[in-house]
Symmetry: D2
Subunit: 225 residues, 4 copies
Amino acid sequence: MIGPSLVRRERKPEGTRVEVRPGLALGGRAFVVMAGPCAVEDGVQMAQAAAAVTQAGCPVLRGGAYKPRTSPYAFQGLGAAGVRMLVDAAARHGLATVSEILEPADELDGVAILQVGARNMHNSSLLKALARQRRPVLLKRGLSATFEEWLLAAEYLLAGGNDQVILCERGIRTFETATRNTLDLASVVLAKQLTHLPVVVDPSHASGRRELVIPLSLAAAAAGA
Amino acid sequence: MIGPSLVRRERKPEGTRVEVRPGLALGGRAFVVMAGPCAVEDGVQMAQAAAAVTQAGCPVLRGGAYKPRTSPYAFQGLGAAGVRMLVDAAARHGLATVSEILEPADELDGVAILQVGARNMHNSSLLKALARQRRPVLLKRGLSATFEEWLLAAEYLLAGGNDQVILCERGIRTFETATRNTLDLASVVLAKQLTHLPVVVDPSHASGRRELVIPLSLAAAAAGA
Amino acid sequence: MIGPSLVRRERKPEGTRVEVRPGLALGGRAFVVMAGPCAVEDGVQMAQAAAAVTQAGCPVLRGGAYKPRTSPYAFQGLGAAGVRMLVDAAARHGLATVSEILEPADELDGVAILQVGARNMHNSSLLKALARQRRPVLLKRGLSATFEEWLLAAEYLLAGGNDQVILCERGIRTFETATRNTLDLASVVLAKQLTHLPVVVDPSHASGRRELVIPLSLAAAAAGA
Amino acid sequence: MIGPSLVRRERKPEGTRVEVRPGLALGGRAFVVMAGPCAVEDGVQMAQAAAAVTQAGCPVLRGGAYKPRTSPYAFQGLGAAGVRMLVDAAARHGLATVSEILEPADELDGVAILQVGARNMHNSSLLKALARQRRPVLLKRGLSATFEEWLLAAEYLLAGGNDQVILCERGIRTFETATRNTLDLASVVLAKQLTHLPVVVDPSHASGRRELVIPLSLAAAAAGA
């Protein structure tokens, strides 16, 4: 198998900056925090979230409108209407936005960063379509994707012409049940060392425990995320 | 989370029969073997494969035309042209066919069983689209999908109106490296006991070693697959 | 690392027979079932177990007297007194016995097969001591031991002069929670193909579910255990 | 199962200090680094190691004399002679020492901290013996031990009367092969929050890659180790 190539740091030693809004980039010196609810539920919720996120000094509001649920009976998201709530709430505070895309036809107008979720990291059809769109993509590592497979998923985007890629480690699936997933910070360090892409960490999904979010965020920052 | 419901054996104690061709069904008394190459490469290859599969007494020819590769540099399949080679070769021997679908727009005319691959088991958009198509679906278990998640993926199909579902265990991802994946026969037994769906096993992908295919097939048969 | 050598089938193509009693051997043509309680609790229990095991046609009675518990607050076994209950109950029915040894000083007089449990597979001190004893050893695979590590643990016994070794697959630790462990039958097949040692399977510990024991036993038999 | 109890933070909110030498304790405010070779090989090597460790400002010298090897053909350590080399080299620089113990009879006179290795974390016989010795114990987490099992192993020591216990996370076994093990920093945070014991991290064994040791050490420090 030909390994990842375009993502390698040698290709771009200075590192890739992904500009998500004029004056706001990932991959630069700033430590950028993205925050917000898992799912967009209604306009009031998003207005409150946007205010809280702004007050905490975070420049990016997250919120899912297309939700890839394990169960067909779980809330599947508000779709295009949810996207508008997210974008409107963010606009009022000058925040950038990030939201998940499940298929190319999903309407995500005005969203700054399109998130490819862990369940879709291996979805090469979606990756190829996003490569053509040239919009910033937050690529979450798959539940049980190896480090190599994660880089190869990013390679799909770069090979298709889109280098606006942010890698996101969100914990891998292991035997451990004390936390929802096992945050793999070594992969974050490796991704920083071996690729030229910005790397972020999702401490909430990785741990599934509120009391771990701050310590793991500090650890991620210390590791170079 | 609401668990799997429509797939439960109590819903259909006699079991679901998935008819893939007049006179050929999965879920009945017959032990059905599906065989063929991983990827369709050309017409000669498929003609030879169809002849060999027929001679071995297998009624179903497999062959992938849309390939979900880990690397963008790997052969991505022949697409619609490959599907025609598969269907033509099978037709000459009266074989049924199975081939993978990656997105709803993929052209798979004449293919008896649409395969959802391990990488797409969590792709709820694809599952919803296939639920509407009402064609037989072979649902492979995800690389690191729990037993519960596998049943919930099947539940997406049934909840959307398609009960022509065949479950396929193909090994899970573990620390073990002596085999490509770890075949989880206990899940096959559980799937037979707890659901009304036919269950098949893919011993080739599960082990990645030629010399294990026959012993594991016998074990799968003994376990009730 | 030098890999396993003395255990390889080429060393003894005809296979190793481990005689546990005159007329009873593992590694021959017979399919030998070992049964009995996890822990020896009292004489009445063992008398009943021995009778039931005999009636079922099993020639070997198991029962643990030295128990390697995860919690210090769990029952740690009856020790030497438990061993006597096991051996006495077995003797009355002409059964052979198998019981776990935790350290070389444990008294296991009269026990036919000394079991090295999964938690001690990596305990090289214990393996070296058992190599010197030249009594039959049932070597359970560690919770997360690779196939290679399992063979190397057996190699400790053979390198120390004891070839009376029976390999026992009992499930490995994975992310799956529907079963207690994941029975890895592919490793059983590989162990039969690559080594000259007898291989048995523990379907109870592997699955932790009563309704899976018989189907998995059949599967193990079909796989060659 | 009765869970861990004596290790819980509520039992000792101020935390346990493990004094390894007058003036040097783990569990206090100081961030203590332990360094040295995996195995003691000869006196010259240890003299050099002790000098380098001293120069780097680390107060504890490590070196294994009893080695629990996966293969019987690997170097098994120098035993008591190796321990003397370690202790002598450390004494010349005023360093404390840490070295692994495999069985109660191992001679480790003068060693400040007895290490229970990952392969022996589940060895309850060894834990019981060390509980009686009342010497400081560095308890490494097992290769595939859950967080709960790790605490229960510590509980064996406390229940037996020895509260001089230091927990050591050294990576768990997962499917990932880019690093030797997967460092689980979330468990370090949890161990700090839920127990009163000092917690250290072994970044070398966890990653198996030299270039990851410093970033992971910083991450561990940020996480509270």
